[in-house]
Every structure is written in structure tokens, then in C-alpha cells.
Symmetry: C2
Subunit: 251 residues, 2 copies
């Protein structure tokens, strides 16, 4: 297909293409993508992010560049440059304001993803991180069918059995479509009371470990609940730069 050839041309300068998905919403996929990007930049890599959450794009908000603009230059779309040189493409940049809903059915969403991949000049980058919305529908399918050579998939969950019940389906999706699976990140694993030091597993225990063990992959990290992390995401600053010695960073 004509589009696939064009996409190959556009992404050929990207060394590693990593997909972050979950199946379940609100588990911290976007937080993981943004913090992973920060970490890779600190190590000197050039990183781009494609925000594929058409209905709820929040990568720009977490990078502090919400409501930014994509420039068009001679037939190509230029990603927006955020902190640490991270380049971003997101539906958020195409909406007139924060209240505007994207009321699209599957075919329009699939087309938007095709446009992002084929019209953007991705340039020479070490990493392209793709943030996928919840579910195993149009958005992940379009990415898997259109993106040549995917190097790895990271699946994010919280410890609860409810989340595990949905995230297992995403792992099966990855296996059926023969994508390389890097592992599972468990987020919101525990909360330590800053005052008395008690530890609470608010969302239960062990969901990430069970999925990793049963589905034959690795548990890459367990990230604690941390109000400072939520604040960093809300205010658009880098958590890792502000709190380099925290539990979250070590994960």
C-alpha cells in the first residue's frame, strides 16, 4: 500500500520503536512513557513520543506543552519540541481548546494515526515511544499494521485483580500479533505514609507479578504511589529531575 511505503520512508531514521500499552485505562501508561522519555534523554538519547490516545491525549499536558502547535513545513509536519529535546506529536495540538471532544468512530481514528505516521518528519532519533489508549481496538491495530519493525512492547498495570483481568488480554494481543514483549510495569504498587512510615497496598498486591509469571514475561518494575509524581504530571515538570533519589526513580 502506498501509505506503508511513505511511512517506512518517514520513520527510517528512528533506531528503536517502543510501544507502551495496557488494555486497562488509568494505570499510568502516559506517566510511564513521559518518565521513560526523560530517563532516556538524561542518558543522552534523542527521543520522540507519538501520543495515540485520540480521545484523551495527555502526553503534552504531562510535558507542560499542552495547547502547543504543530508546524507544517514544505509538506511535512514538524513534531513539537518539549523539555530535554523530547519531540512530541499528539491530537492535543489539533484541538481548539481543552473541552473539545473528539467524537470519532474507528475509521476516522485509524486515518488520524496513518496521517501521524506518514505526514510527520520524524527525523533521526534513537527512540520513538508510542503511547496507546486503553483497549485492543482501532488504535493499537493501526499502529501494529502500519508501523514497520516494532522493537518492543511494555505493558503497564496496577496490582488489582480487576486490572489483571483486562491486562492479560493485552498481553495475548501482543503475542497473537507476534510483537516483541519487553515486560510488565506494575504501577501504584504501594503507598508509604510519609508521617508514620506504614505501607499500604491500596490496589491490592501482586497483579503485575502474576501476569508476568503466567504469560511468560518479566516484571520490569514496581512503581509506588507518590503524590509528588501526580503533581509532576499535573504541572508538566520532570519528576526525575526534581526528585532524583526517590523510590520512583530507582524503579
Amino acid at each position: 500500500e502506498e501509505a506503508k511505503r511513505l511511512i517506512e520512508e518517514r520513520v527510517k531514521g528512528v533506531k528503536h520503536r517502543i510501544i507502551v500499552m495496557s488494555g486497562k485505562g488509568g494505570v499510568g501508561k502516559t506517566m510511564v512513557v513521559v518518565n521513560l522519555a526523560d530517563m532516556l534523554c538524561i542518558k543522552g538519547y534523542k527521543v520522540s513520543i507519538l501520543d495515540c490516545d485520540i480521545h484523551g491525549p495527555s502526553v503534552p499536558k504531562m510535558l507542560g506543552v499542552s495547547r502547543g502547535e504543530l508546524l507544517v513545513d514544505g509538506g511535512s509536519i514538524r513534531p513539537l519540541k518539549a523539555r530535554n529535546g523530547i519531540e512530541v506529536v499528539s491530537m492535543d495540538f489539533l484541538l481548539p481548546n481543552e473541552d473539545t471532544p473528539v467524537i470519532w468512530r474507528g475509521p476516522l481514528k485509524a486515518r488520524a494515526i496513518m496521517e501521524f505516521l506518514s505526514q510527520v518528519d520524524w527525523g533521526d532519533r534513537d527512540f520513538l515511544l508510542v503511547d496507546l489508549p486503553p483497549g485492543t481496538g482501532d488504535e493499537p491495530l493501526s499502529i501494529v499494521q502500519l508501523m514497520p519493525k516494532i522493537d518492543g512492547t511494555i505493558i503497564v498495570t496496577i496490582p488489582s485483580k480487576v486490572s489483571e483481568h483486562v491486562v492479560r488480554k493485552a498481553v495475548s494481543f501482543v503475542k497473537r500479533l507476534k510483537l516483541p514483549l519487553l515486560g510488565i510495569v506494575e504501577n501504584m504498587s504501594y503507598f508509604i505514609c510519609p508521617k508514620c512510615g506504614s505501607r499500604y497496598e491500596i490496589f491490592g498486591k501482586g497483579g503485575g507479578g502474576r501476569v508476568a509469571r503466567d504469560m511468560g514475561t518479566r516484571l520490569l518494575a514496581s512503581i509506588p504511589l507518590d503524590p509528588r509524581l501526580s503533581e509532576a504530571c499535573d504541572e508538566g515538570f520532570s519528576f526525575l529531575s526534581k526528585y532524583p533519589n526517590s523510590d520512583v526513580y530507582k524503579a
Copy 2:
């Protein structure tokens, strides 16, 4: 259309039809639907739930009836009876096991929702609660276009600005499609350390109130983070029956 007439016939015995949505995933929509159903049953109402999360159906898990079966009786599908007489229809009942992903694009999902509405014998009920997945795409659009007379919409969020940024879009969706909006439920509003009593706003503060104020609707409740609630959802028992005096119940 033929289907709409059939649907009208099927749902005519349902007095009140309530939609619960959010736009953002993982904020507690399903938990709210299940607990609302429990509460209505305790008051003596007959309640049914339609789980419209095709990719991540978790209503049956929270009711302790995951992997149940829908019976077909003379051309109609019979909902499954769970605790308190709650009747449930969910994609979860159609999957061979918990690992099976539903890898469908928009048109197939829209068709599944049409089948749920038109093939199920909903019977005489006081309430039908519809649990919608994240986003403003195929599933909510199909429900709004196919379901005659929607009586109210409840929108669930957590306090974070990131969630607020996405949930505002869902409120605009509801307004554009002229649905009656009952209000906003803010979930995971705070956590109180059981040991020392300190209060933590892990996901920030005020997102639900800001959305309600700016979009001209009411904040219906603020529900705290409670490990016992997560456990009730994971194990499929009724939180309200086990802990009738908790903060969560009062909300």
C-alpha cells in the same frame, strides 16, 4: 431503522436508563456502577447493568460472576442474575477465558452493542445502568444513537488535572448530544492513613469540583481511596453490605 424499533420494544419495561461514563480510564466508572446498583437494590429497586466495555469488561468480575453464561431462550438472550437480583449483560460472558482479547475495530463493536440492546429481554426493571469504556468513540456513540430515552448521565473522574483535562471532553460530549447530565462523581479523592490518621491527596485536589463548576453541573460525591473497596471489587463481594458505616457509603 428496524433495529431501533426492536430495541424500543425490548427496553420499554425499563423505567430509568442511566449512563456512567468518564472519557478517562481507570477512574472508577465500573466500581461506581456496581456500588450504585447495590445501593439501589438495598432500597428495593430492580436493577440491570449493561457492560459496554467490549475490550475490558469488568462488571461481572466485580459482581463475582465472571465467566458466567448468558442463556438463550426462544430467540431472546436472558441476562445473568448476580447478587441482590442484579441482572447483567457483558462481553465477559462471551469469552472462552480471561486471557482472550477482543481485537475488534469500531464497526464490530457497534454491532455488538446493537445486539445487546436488541436481542436481550431486559424485562421490567426500575433501572438500567450502562457502563461505558474510556473515550468518546464507537461505544458511547452507539448507545446514544440506539437507546431510546436516556434519563441521565453520571461522569466519573479522579482529582488530578490530567484526568480533568480528558473528562472535560466527556462533559462536552454529553452536552453536544443533548443528554441529561446528573453530575460528576470524584473518586480517589483522598487517603486517610489508618494508623496515624494523616490525610493525603495522592492524585491532587479539586478536579471534580472544577469540572462541575466550569461546566455548569453538580459534584455528586467525593469517594476516598480505600483498600477494602479495591478488595471488594477484586473479590466480587458487595462493599456496602460488608462496611455499611464507611466514608465510601456516605458518599
